[in-house]
Amino acid sequence: MDSHHSYSQVKGVSTGTTILAVKFNGGVIIGSDSRASMGESYVSSKTINKLIQVHDRIFCCIAGSLADAQAVTKMAKFQLSFHSIQMESPPLVKAAASIMRELCYNNKEELQAGFITAGWDRKKGPQIYVVSLGGMLLSQPFTIGGSGSTYIYGYVDAKFKPDMSLEEAIQFSTNALALAMGRDNVSGGVVHLVVITEAEVKHVVVPGNKLPKFHDE
């Protein structure tokens, strides 16, 4: 297992994690679990926040080394804020993702963190961008990431529909995260969801005992 997962070779605290983002009709939902682990067996935090707000309508979810991810998002938040003030308008989601990509690509030797950047902007509406470990930037209608994501590829591929309603999208995200947290030992805790639309940003927390249960629970 060690040789396949780069996350397990991360020194210090890692977010062995499950993160996802999905576009629905009118907005985007970004979600994650809340467990931070050290090595395979110690849970260093049960309630960590992996959904970082980098601007009014743009969030990043983080996977990999927590230290690296926090450093990158802090830098990106600063650059994005400056850029937005210079432009005299809210930043494009693509601009936020590009900033993350530049940071990840130019420092790829030192960093070990991947991101999902999602949000809403006036030009293209709801968007999701994946910024992977080495600095690849890709736009997708939905995406999953982190160590727990490997257990739910089948589920999301089968269940995703474009243009879902808000309720359908929340159900989709909660189910996906619950399934991943059920099988991945380094993902767990509560489900954090953030719903981003033109009008507002809404946090939804689903505690462990309220998560959907499946056949074997």
Binding site: H83, Q86, L92, A95, A97, S98, I99, E102, R122
Partner: protein, 255 residues
């Protein structure tokens, strides 16, 4: 005539007692010695026209361009010291390219104008360098923000415009531009009017031959800045020459 700034005009790092920086004003004079360039913004795009004076019959046609492509969607027309203008077009290109590299999308024109304006302004602060002796007009078209037109002068200030002119005949050109209802025109209509204005302001007596440089960016070019195609340019020049003849004829009638 301009006032003489004796003693306070030797470097850009000196103010005069009445609060002027003469070196910057002298730089603007350099722009006024150059032939005219105009830019007009209409409903669905921006059109540039430049009166390119031909100083020698030996010049290759189309050389010594005064209109530059800064990015796919941005064009720049210049007046003043051409060497300075070319250097600034390179600076603008780098700005636009760096922006795209960092932020993943086309640079908004206002931001580009601000950035290049800041660069031009930096050269007005020190005695070790001289200010740039050129003004330039930047234009772009974007589906969401529409057409944009900005002008930057040697002091580093940039303003947004619906129509502007720089160079020796700028006053006459501005008068002609003001007669147009550009907000209701399309690029195709405007191209002919821009050609006409350049022909009108061209001084047949002092400057002999000239070549008209026309470019546009707008819905008609799908947002790309390009030189106006040969056939449309010929049509525009024909319209311009005919309009001039009509005006000459009507002058004769009055006599």
């Amino acid at each position: 005539m301009s006032s003489i700034g004796t003693g306070y005009d030797l470097s850009a790092s000196t103010f005069s007692p009445d609060g002027r920086v003469f070196q910057v004003e002298y730089a603007m004079k350099a722009v006024e010695n150059s032939s005219t360039a105009i830019g007009i913004r209409c409903k669905d795009g921006v059109v540039f026209g430049v009166e390119k004076l031909i100083l020698s019959k030996l010049y290759e046609q189309g050389s010594n361009k005064r209109i530059f492509n800064i990015d796919r969607h941005v064009g720049m027309a210049v007046a003043g010291l051409l060497a300075d203008a070319r250097s600034l077009s390179e600076v603008s290109r780098e700005e636009a390219s760096n922006f795209r590299s960092n932020y993943g999308h086309d640079i908004p024109l206002k931001h580009l104008a601000d950035r290049v304006g800041m660069y031009v302004h930096a050269y007005t602060l020190y005695s070790a360098v001289r200010p740039f002796g050129c003004s330039f007009i930047l234009g772009s078209y974007d589906e969401d923000d529409g057409p944009q037109l900005y002008m930057v002068d040697p002091s580093g200030i940039s303003y947004g415009y619906w129509g502007c002119a720089i160079g020796k005949a700028k006053q006459a050109a501005k008068t002609e531009i003001e007669k147009l209802q550009m907000k209701e025109m399309t690029c195709r209509e405007l191209v002919k009017e821009v050609a006409k204005i350049i022909y009108i302001v061209h001084d047949e007596v002092k400057d002999k031959a000239f070549e008209l440089e026309l470019s546009w960016v707008g819905e008609v070019t799908k947002g790309r800045h390009e030189l106006v195609p040969k056939d449309i340019k010929e049509e525009a020049e024909k319209y311009a020459k005919e309009s001039l003849e009509e005006e000459d004829d009507s002058d004769e009638d009055n006599m």
